[in-house]
């Protein structure tokens, strides 16, 4: 598979065109905004947390295929996870997306999310994929005084 074909796999295109869990979540009790100031992408993430478990994750916003697919797949993967499990998955994704070599990345347990790994070959696009995850983490940790941004 070429790098481009790996980046835009069918599952990525599918999620970008028909994002799951898209739109505001009325019963949400956590929310955060995420911005990529370099490109202007903006997403919002809503979470319903019950008894330390992620009930539902929704998102909305205007973003590229990579960011939208990452957010959509994230919203499915996190459903039902405990706070701690979510943190572990966040860290695994962060390592896979921002990592540099194939060898040291543990993709076990990522399931379909591993499809997002193609972004590693596109350093300019890594932040597109990580933005939803950082926004989710900020909402989960209620660290929402400032919107999440890819640039500090």
């Amino acid at each position: 598979m070429t790098d481009l074909a790996e980046l835009y796999q069918d599952i990525i295109l599918d999620h970008s065109k028909q994002p799951r869990n898209f739109g505001e979540l009325s019963e949400a009790n956590r929310h955060a905004d995420g911005y990529n100031p370099l490109c202007g992408d903006h997403i919002e993430v809503w979470i319903r947390i019950d008894d330390d478990h992620v009930g539902k994750v929704h998102f909305s916003g205007s973003a590229c295929a990579i960011c939208t697919a990452s957010a959509s797949m994230m919203s499915q993967a996190l459903q039902g996870k405990s706070h701690e499990e979510s943190g572990v998955l966040f860290e695994q994704m962060r390592q896979m997306l921002a990592g540099t070599g194939d060898g040291d990345i543990d993709q076990s347990g990522l399931g379909k999310l591993a499809a997002l790994g193609g972004v590693r070959r596109y350093p300019m696009r890594v932040k597109c994929a990580t933005l939803p995850w950082h926004t989710f983490k900020a909402a989960l940790d209620e660290n929402t005084g400032q919107p999440v941004t890819t640039e500090q």
Binding site: T2, D3, L4, L7, Y8, L13, K17, L38, C39, G40, D41, H42, S62, A63, C64, A65, I66, T68, Y122, M124, R125, C128
Partner: protein, 417 residues
């Protein structure tokens, strides 16, 4: 009487010869010949510029205006000569009207602070437009906050043109500064700057022209335009990064306070009193970008040799060809349809975000820009978050435009829209 030789304007530009002068254009990207269409972001550099930088650092490198040694003299002379080249290029009245800066952004900030901060007061207005680059918005917001002046914004039509009727009513005797882009970096609109300058002057306002996008595409004569300030960057004009120019009318510069303090801008320093040098030195504190100025002069020499009228004619022809090619792509929508436009084309494709277009085009060796182009207010006005932008320079070819159109078609295939 000497023999006058002129370059006949009818001879078209020899793009093959020009491409040969730009070493980077023979590069391969992802296994394809590089098609560089991101010239509005920065242009590539011809060998004469690279050679000038190399020659400076290997033969003349020294600080200027201080050492009494041979290298110091050479560097000082080369830096002064670079300023002369810019003066002639812009047809400024005197060399003192040419201030070297880091780029357009610093030039605008310089005017906002060294002119705006001391000339604006509560109730005064600064007039900009909705299509400005952030660098011609934020410095004015900052100085308005400092002085209590207000910011007015000329609106933009659906086609991406300034609404001149609104401009005329927004321009009042309270308007002290009009700061306007000559050409929109995001959508290529060429603004009617002569009309704007005349109207502003009739109302007693000074005009700053952001020429970042025009300077390498059309001949500019600051005296016939009668702009009060003009800013441009070296790196968009085939020169190095980190060097730019502020032109200012001598009388205005003479009346301005320094922008930054330091060495090179003072006449004498005492703890009780410090006096400043005349413009342009007053505005160039610290060791300037000597190599950059020399490189910029070489780039201007190169543009002069090709001839800006010839460059304009060639690019206009290529723009027509590019518009035809892009309009033939069914799903593509051009953003900005000004009747007077430069060779920079913004577009969107429904169902494919500009970043994804950019990545797929890059895979084909085609470099374009995707994003908001540092013009978020314009994007909001046009109701889009971002565009893809292909911007042309004198070394681009019809063959490259074909490659662009093919790559866009591939993006459409990949996304199946």
């Amino acid at each position: 009487m000497g023999v006058v030789t002129t370059k006949p304007a009818c001879l078209p530009l020899d793009v093959g010869r020009i491409r040969h002068d730009f070493p980077i254009l023979s590069a391969q990207v992802h296994g394809h010949p590089l098609v560089y269409l991101d010239n509005a972001a920065t242009s590539q550099k011809p060998s004469v510029v690279l050679d000038a930088l190399h020659a400076y650092y290997t033969q003349s490198n020294s600080n200027i205006n201080r050492g009494v040694h041979a290298l110091g003299e050479r560097a000082t002379e080369a830096y002064a000569k670079a300023r002369d080249v810019v003066q002639l290029f812009l047809n400024a009245q005197s060399v003192g009207e040419i201030v070297f800066t880091r780029g357009t952004t610093e030039a605008i900030n310089l005017v906002a602070q060294a002119y705006g901060a001391s000339h604006l007061k509560v109730g005064d207005r600064v007039l900009i437009s909705q299509m400005e680059h952030h660098s011609n918005i934020v410095p004015w917001q900052m100085v308005c906050q400092q002085t209590g002046a207000g910011l007015d914004v000329i609106p933009v039509s659906d086609d991406g043109e300034l609404m001149m009727g609104r401009f005329e009513s927004q321009l009042t005797d309270r308007t002290k500064i009009v700061a306007i882009a000559h050409i929109s970096n995001a959508i290529g609109t060429v603004n009617p700057v002569s009309k704007i300058i005349q109207a502003a002057h009739a109302n007693g306002a000074v005009v700053l022209l952001d020429a970042a996008q025009s300077i390498s595409h059309m001949a500019i004569d600051v005296q016939s335009l009668d702009c009060d300030f003009l800013a441009f960057s070296g790196h968009k004009t085939y020169g190095p990064t980190g060097i730019g120019v502020l032109y200012g009318k001598a009388a205005l510069l003479a009346d301005m306070t320094p922008y930054q303090g330091g060495g090179g801008m003072i006449r004498s320093v005492g703890f009780d009193q410090t006096t400043y040098r005349d413009p342009p030195d007053r505005f160039e504190a610290g060791t300037p970008n000597i190599a950059g100025a020399i490189g910029l002069a070489a780039a201007i020499g190169y543009m002069n040799q090709v001839g800006l009228p010839r460059i304009s004619a060639y690019e206009a022809d290529l723009l027509d060809y590019a518009l035809q090619g892009l309009e033939s792509v069914e799903k593509l929508r051009l953003i900005g349809r000004a009747s007077n436009r430069a060779a920079s084309v913004s577009f969107v494709i429904d169902g494919i975000h500009p970043h994804d277009i950019g990545t797929i085009l890059d895979d084909e060796g085609v470099a374009i820009r995707a994003g908001h182009h540092c013009a978020q207010p314009l994007m909001s006005r046009l109701g889009i978050p971002a565009t893809a932008r292909a911007s042309i320079a004198m070394y681009n070819t019809k063959h490259e435009v074909d490659a662009l159109v093919r790559a866009i078609q591939r993006a459409i295939e990949v996304f199946g829209v």
